[in-house]
Amino acid sequence: MEQSRRIPVGPILSAVALLAVPLVLPDWMKFIVTLALSKFLAVLAVALFLRAGMVTFGHAMFYAVGAYVVGFSNKLFAYHGILVLLVIGALVGAGVAALIGLIMARYREVFFAMLNLAFSMMLYGAFLKLYWVTGGTDGLGTGLPTFLGYTPARDNLRDVQYYATLVVAGLVIYGVYRFLASPLGYYLKARADNEIRIEYSGESVQRVIYATYVLSGALAAMGGVLAAFTVGHIVPEYAFWIQSGDFVFVAILGGFESVAGPLVGAIAFEFIRTYASKYFPNEWQMVLGIIMLVIILFRPGGIWAIYESLVAKVRRPKGEVAHG
């Protein structure tokens, strides 16, 4: 009860901060935050499975599917409507996930992780080798996006794009939040503890995982659409295992127990990467590995858990019980 009367300071502050980004930050930082928001959708997809105690080393495949939807639309129809492409991308991503998911929903743990990796490497190979369709290593351009028929001038394109991405991310946060609060979402979390008891309670674990898989495919593909327009260029590396590994890393870094964790993680990650690739161009993966190792061994909840424990420390002196 206490909880509901308290004004949610943290979320409001961060919403204001996110809205103010284009007004305060220089262009290159706007770009980084836009990219982070786009990738956040894919990270959310990976985080859904981490909540269920499952790792996927292959979700870059759906991210790439979304990005290539944009690329093909530019190449074949010269069409750049970001909203329509988001819907198409989500549908194609969900469609591919619905197909692969038929196999994937039967596997857990090691097999789930590595089969996803295998599928994504197959897709990567296809993008790389079918060069007459996909442009091979040269990739595809995306063209400049249009927003519901409106074509922004070059100098405010970044801002429009940022707000569009922010709106989509906001809607997705709400959607995923509702999903996690639904029975399906709770079953997903329960899977991490005990799968067989879920079946005793009358729900099919395969169904839960299948539904989550389709949703995650759509999410990651939408992330791919947004990221493709942000970067302006698509290469097969979108589907490469390093990209999948990055998504897993970000989910661990931010913390996957909440929807906010991946968001914080995604923004932190893009900034870490910008600076790290400047100072350690060849040791970048090693830096990631070490951070991940430390988080897994000592701080399994990621940045978000650190934040929450700080908040709890600040609030407790006011004479409240920790859990309200």
Binding site: L50, G53, M54, V55, F57, I103, R106, Y107, E109, V110, F111, A113, M114, L115, L117, A118, F119, M121, M122, G125, A126, K129, L130, A192, N194, E195, I196, R197, W241, G245, V248, I252, N282, E283, W284, Q285, M286, L288, G289, I290, M292, L293, I296, L297, P300
Partner: protein, 300 residues
């Protein structure tokens, strides 16, 4: 298909299978005993390849007898295996034996990331190449196609190695202890087996296999950054097909993957990797525990 092409495919496939076996037998051994899929396995393999090539280049550089290069390949593998194995097991894996499988996967994945870059830090990003061990043994021809005796030696080494491992598990006291640990850790501990020590030894043995595989393949290829991940995925495909934790399965899986890959390379080069993954998916759909694996009981 004509006979000549068939011979080429069988030869190429068998040679590739020999290397795959050395690589994947370590992975399956580690999984069998520790129940952890070691994602960093490909990293150790690549490390072995780098170290072996580096030592061989050094010894040839000082003008030593070229036959010493074989010793250097072996030394490189042993150095890497003996360093990586105990460190990874004692320092990192030991903390997470009780954790969920996804935590174990992520931990070995982060070790993989570290190893992958550590190689670049130590040896740079340029390819390392040494061909003396490969050319030294000379060549012979089958149906007009030249093969190196080194490739035949690879097949021999991997057969001997596989036989030695099977003997070790089935015919020695150590093997009996390992089997007991695999079946019941707590009971083994209760009857006085030092389970931690068995874990360290098994992991080190697995790491040695990986490093040896890398060291032996090194003279036939140029060692470049980034071939570690392919190795991990291929090794996983092999043991998933054969059955995770089974030595015989690793052998059969290597042969299947090796031959399929050779078939694809010569008939449909675009599909060389796809074929391997398709085979893995097909086997897993029909027989999820792999060809030689035992079905897992679901525990409540």
């Amino acid at each position: 298909m004509n006979i000549r092409l068939l011979t080429i495919i069988v030869m190429d496939g068998t040679i590739f299978a020999a290397v795959l076996f050395l690589l994947s037998v370590g992975l399956t051994l580690i999984f069998g005993v520790l129940r952890i899929l070691n994602v960093s396995h490909g990293g150790i393999y690549a490390f072995g390849a780098y170290m072996a090539t580096f030592l061989t280049i050094k010894i040839l550089g000082v003008g030593a007898n070229p036959y010493l290069s074989y010793l250097m390949l072996l030394a490189g593998a042993i150095i890497i295996g003996m360093i990586c194995g105990p460190i990874i097991e004692r320092v990192f894996l030991r903390r997470i034996y009780g954790s969920d499988q996804h935590i174990q996967l992520l931990l070995t994945f982060s070790i993989f990331l570290i190893l992958d870059d550590l190689m670049k830090v130590i040896w740079g990003t340029k390819p390392l190449f040494v061909s003396e061990p490969y050319t030294l043994l000379g060549q012979f021809s089958i149906g007009g196609i030249l093969y190196s005796w080194y490739q035949v030696a690879l097949i021999g080494v991997s057969i001997v190695f596989g036989a030695a491992l099977v003997w070790m598990v089935n015919g020695t006291r150590f093997g009996k202890i390992v089997i007991s640990v695999i079946n019941d850790r707590e009971m083994s501990q209760a009857i006085g087996i030092n389970v931690n020590r068995i874990f360290t030894i098994s992991f080190t043995l697995g790491a040695l296999c990986a490093a040896l595989g890398g060291a032996l393949i090194a003279p036939t290829i140029a060692v470049v950054p980034g071939f570690a991940v392919d190795a991990t995925v291929l090794a996983f495909a092999v043991i998933a097909i054969g059955g995770m934790g089974s030595l015989e399965g690793a052998a059969l899986g290597s042969l299947i993957v090796g031959l399929l890959r050779a078939l694809a390379v010569h008939l449909l080069p675009e599909a060389d990797l796809v074929v391997v993954y398709l085979a893995m998916i097909l086997v897993l759909v029909v027989r999820p525990e792999g060809l030689f694996g035992e079905a897992q009981l679901r525990r409540i």
